[in-house]
Subunit: 393 residues, 2 copies
């Protein structure tokens, strides 16, 4: 428990050598969130193929919504009439919304950034819209998310340093305008809303530092690292994260956007990240890829056609306790919706369980041991396969 008016508190710092991991508590109007936390992505007001009551089964305390997607569907009018996203989707825990910056970059057929904001065309029907930093805040006020994100510019990777340098300056000016507009507007539904910054700078350490130093001068409630996991090598991402957390204030939550694999989560918690989100557990689920304690499983593989074992003896979910690999394969081969449901349940359960174990290990100053044990099992099949290949087996 932390005092009502405190938004974030670090609860423990790992005392292990070279481990910057910490546990903390985030407190919004809707829930208390133990960090490090993984936030399931609910793009359009639903974590795909998972029922809201199932999210509660995993003790999910916070999910994501996407401003860009929700602006297009159901639209701001419906959202306002519903008195916000919590009501609309009947979700009584926390919601973080991104600003749309990443979607303009990744989805929009045409987007044009200027000093004033972003002109973009809907990926659905080509309709044109213009988002200013202020408008992005206004929309998130209507969505009523507990944590809002400011408008930032996302660049493709790789980008030239000169381009990135100009871009982080624009991102800074946009986010400053977001903050000012945030300070000058009020929440619409009686619960308080927080605003984070998003730093950019691609894979250039000095630009990351500059972006962070600028943004942390403004009194944002937390700080996100954006523009990673967009194509750069894993070790470069880890280095940039490591470098960035050196400059991020210790007393505020640090959010690594759009990351990642279970291995990424471990590596980046170790480097001081408190919050994650990623479509991977749900998207992979819909493609028949299951995250399990002993590695990723391809649920369409003929190798499991007659395998009546649980997909995961260790991580207990509705799926792993009740259904066999052979049954899950059958569902995917037959294109049955239940396959998407069961795989999504397990993958989200697996991610949230991993974070819970990570938090416990940090509290006990056994993060390194836990990480090694986890990776030994998780990567074993992959490593065995590699060794067998090397041995010519």
């Amino acid at each position: 428990m932390i005092a009502k008016d405190i938004f974030f508190k670090v609860l423990s710092n790992s005392n292990e050598d070279g481990v910057k991991a910490r546990t903390g508590l985030l407190k919004t109007a809707h829930s208390e969130i133990e960090t490090p936390v993984f936030m399931p992505v609910g793009t359009l007001g639903t974590v795909k193929a998972i029922e809201q009551r199932e999210l509660h089964e995993f003790d999910t305390r916070i999910i994501l919504g996407n401003t860009y997607h929700l602006f297009l569907r159901p639209g701001i009018e419906v959202m306002e009439n519903a008195a916000g996203l919590h009501n609309f989707m009947n979700w009584n825990k926390s919601i973080l919304t991104d600003s749309g910056g990443f979607q303009f970059f990744s989805l929009s057929k045409l987007n044009k950034n200027s000093e004033d904001g972003v002109e973009f065309s809907s990926h659905l029907n080509g309709d044109k819209f213009f988002f200013t930093p202020e408008k992005v805040i206004d929309i998130q006020r209507i969505i009523g998310s507990d944590i809002m994100m400011p408008l930032d510019e996302c660049l493709p990777s790789p980008s030239e340093k000169k381009v990135v340098e100009k871009s982080i300056a624009l991102t800074y000016r946009w986010e400053k305008r977001c903050f000012e507009h945030y300070e000058n507007t009020k929440e619409k539904y009686g619960h308080s809303q927080k605003l984070f910054s998003i730093n950019q700078g691609s894979i250039f350490p000095d630009l990351r530092k500059r972006s962070i130093e600028g943004l942390t001068e403004i009194d944002f409630d937390g700080h996100a690292i954006g523009g990673l996991a967009v194509g750069e090598a894993n070790n470069i991402m880890y280095d940039i994260v490591d470098h960035s957390t050196d400059y991020l204030p210790k007393e505020k939550p640090r959010y690594l956007m759009g990351v990642g694999t279970p291995v990424d989560l471990l590596e980046c918690v170790e480097r001081g990240i408190d919050m994650f989100d990623c479509v991977m557990p749900t998207r992979n689920a819909r493609h028949g890829r299951l995250f399990t304690t002993t590695g990723e499983v391809n649920l369409k593989s003929s190798a499991i056609k007659n395998n009546f074992n649980s997909p995961d003896e260790e991580c207990k979910t509705y799926t792993s306790v009740n259904f066999s690999l052979a049954y899950l394969r059958h569902l995917f081969i037959s294109n049955e919706i239940l396959g998407f449901q069961l795989a999504s349940i397990h993958n989200i359960g697996f991610y949230l369980n991993l974070m819970k174990n990570i938090r416990e290990s940090i509290n006990e100053n056994k993060f390194k041991e836990f990480k090694q044990q986890f990776l030994n099992k998780y990567l074993k099949n992959k490593i065995d396969k590699k060794l067998n290949l090397q041995k010519g087996i």
Copy 2:
């Protein structure tokens, strides 16, 4: 409760004028099933978009599986290795399997019936197979369903009387062979399996009578009416059902295959039917059509874009208690899997709740009153619309 060795018992007969409705209890190795019952269709070992635990929420006691579909996927080898469908899909209540007769007729690109059986090609890849009446029993022994169906010939509607006459004779010979093979084989998994007959005869009362009289001479455990709801007018179907139940033995369960709408269920319970199955609640759900106490609702309609009411104030399901019409519409417009899930949950919940209310009304000799009340609400919007059209409103 009924004695362990009794499979079916009529518990009460309506004493209302012209009402042939009755309640009963079906007892299989896996569950006691109160009749009249609606059996959700689980074609491929899953009631589409519904989790097994959700079926238990509705107190589902029996579901359907399809022999034809399960033979193709996952195939008989997997089914046998799994020790039957109950184990494979982790369903501990009853299962009824159809024989494939209807699928040969409706799905197969090419099927050729002869005295010996059916040659058909898979709708998936064109592979050719030959099913004899004996093979249909063998497969259902491997599936391990509680209630098996025999091979019958399904004709398109309309069919010439001469053709139908020849067909019911073939169906009789096939089903007799099924019964003999059933008597000469044993269950594989320790639990007893029952075998029903399926009478045919299209819309010809005298041929229906002849088909029933032949098949009821054989000691089947129950009797199904097949070949209806294939294009004939509703009132013709009701007449054939009424006519058929006059000849079906009172002491055995009567199953009307592939029927139907909520109105059909009421009309055919009134005419003495005990068991129903139909893809309608789940299929319509996936197309965004919701069954509610006040009629069918099109979940894609723009009319409900800002309607934040429950889709059904009276029939309480996870869906109707927790989500609004506007949210459901948003899910369908956005093609979200959760839309299929929530609509399927409500439609199956609605059907099973209707059957429960029907059983109670029969027990209280208030079936007619219940039916009238139900239809007044269920059809009101339709009738209002019609009246408004007539009045030129």
